[in-house]
Amino acid sequence: MELLFNNRDPVYLQVVKHFKERIATGKLTAGQTIPSRRELASQLNINPNTAQKAYKEMEEQGLIVTEGNSPSRITGDTAILSRIRDELLTEAIDMFLASVRNIEVPPEQLLSLVQRRLESNRSEPSSERGGTE
């Protein structure tokens, strides 16, 4: 696990987000065991207290469950898991919209610009692959 932290957002929330992204992309699945707090701290190079705080937050949000002394797992509640993807997307879109608000671009134009950008991004990696063949 590689994670670069920015110093202006709480580290524990960045860890929570990191887990959400891994869940949303299927790298972590329902019921899967996750590292202990101590392991996570040394993997991500964070203070064990911060790892503890991140796990507590994820427990409160219902993302992970810990029963007795057994290792924590990703929840089996698929409703919660499917909500994560929506939540991450909504958050990212809101940030994007906030950053383009000052440019005052009409919605239709914005949408077509985004679409064009997506298409050009999509064609770049494929042309790269074409080159190596």
């Binding site: 932290f5 110093n7 929330l13 203070n47 064990p48 207290n49």
Partner: protein, 229 residues
């Protein structure tokens, strides 16, 4: 918890601490920061009883400092205090002979982790290696609190990273750490609390995650605000 309450200290006519109060919980990493000569080291030495204070109180878990307190607190000075002719092995034996709370298994583990050669002599070590040995001598003690004076200063990037990795490991778990540094940037995500000093006074103290959450500021941002104005 180590608690300082209105601690005052003079060197001759010069006031070096003018009423310093803060708490450093067990189970947390507290960083004393400030520009050079603001009293950071003096605070650590006062806690260790290495220099007398002229006012205020220092307590550990609610009790005043007592000679037995020092079985629970270790101090890592900014330079390795061992003679140049001594080998790493000699240092470890010295600690084992003189300290009841020395943990030889942990010392062996750390010797490996820091890749120290047992026959290497203190006098011919690089600064980074000496800093690691210095830290090892404290980490291998069973103590509740660790005070570290500038553990990151003047050493290369890789040694700094290795030392920083200590703060994300079980080596500090359950212990209270107070460290001083003026180079917060690379380690700020490892800190729990920051106490900022200027000229023997506390200018600001806060929990790092709180200031990020409430104000969206990094520790370095806050330092700029405090020291550049």
């Amino acid at each position: 918890m180590i608690e300082l309450n209105n601690v005052k200290k003079r060197f001759g006519f010069r006031t070096v601490l003018s009423g310093v109060s803060f708490q450093a919980p067990k189970d947390a990493i507290t960083c004393l920061t400030g520009l050079n000569g603001t009293g950071k080291t003096t605070i650590l030495k006062s806690i260790m009883g290495l220099t007398p204070i002229h006012g205020g109180t220092i307590t550990i878990d609610g009790s005043p400092l007592h000679h037995t307190s020092y079985e629970r607190i270790v101090f890592v000075p900014d330079q390795l205090p061992m003679p140049g002719r001594m080998t790493v092995e000699g240092c470890l034996e010295f600690m084992s002979d003189h300290y009841r709370n020395w943990n030889p298994e942990r010392a062996a583990e750390l010797t490996q982790m820091f890749k120290l050669g047992l026959q290497d002599r203190v006098g011919s070590m690089s600064k980074g290696t000496a800093a690691k040995l210095n830290l090892l001598l404290a980490l291998a003690m069973n103590a509740d609190y660790m005070l570290m004076d500038e553990p990151f200063s003047g050493i290369d990037m890789f040694s700094r990273e290795q030392i920083a990795s200590v703060f994300s490991s079980e080596l500090v778990e359950g212990r209270g750490v107070i460290l001083t540094t003026h180079e917060v940037k690379e380690i700020e995500h490892l800190l729990d609390y920051v106490v900022m000093l200027d000229n023997g006074r506390i200018t600001k103290q806060f929990a790092c995650e709180d200031i990020r959450l409430a104000e969206g500021k990094s520790v370095v941002d806050v330092m700029r605000e405090v020291y550049e104005t």
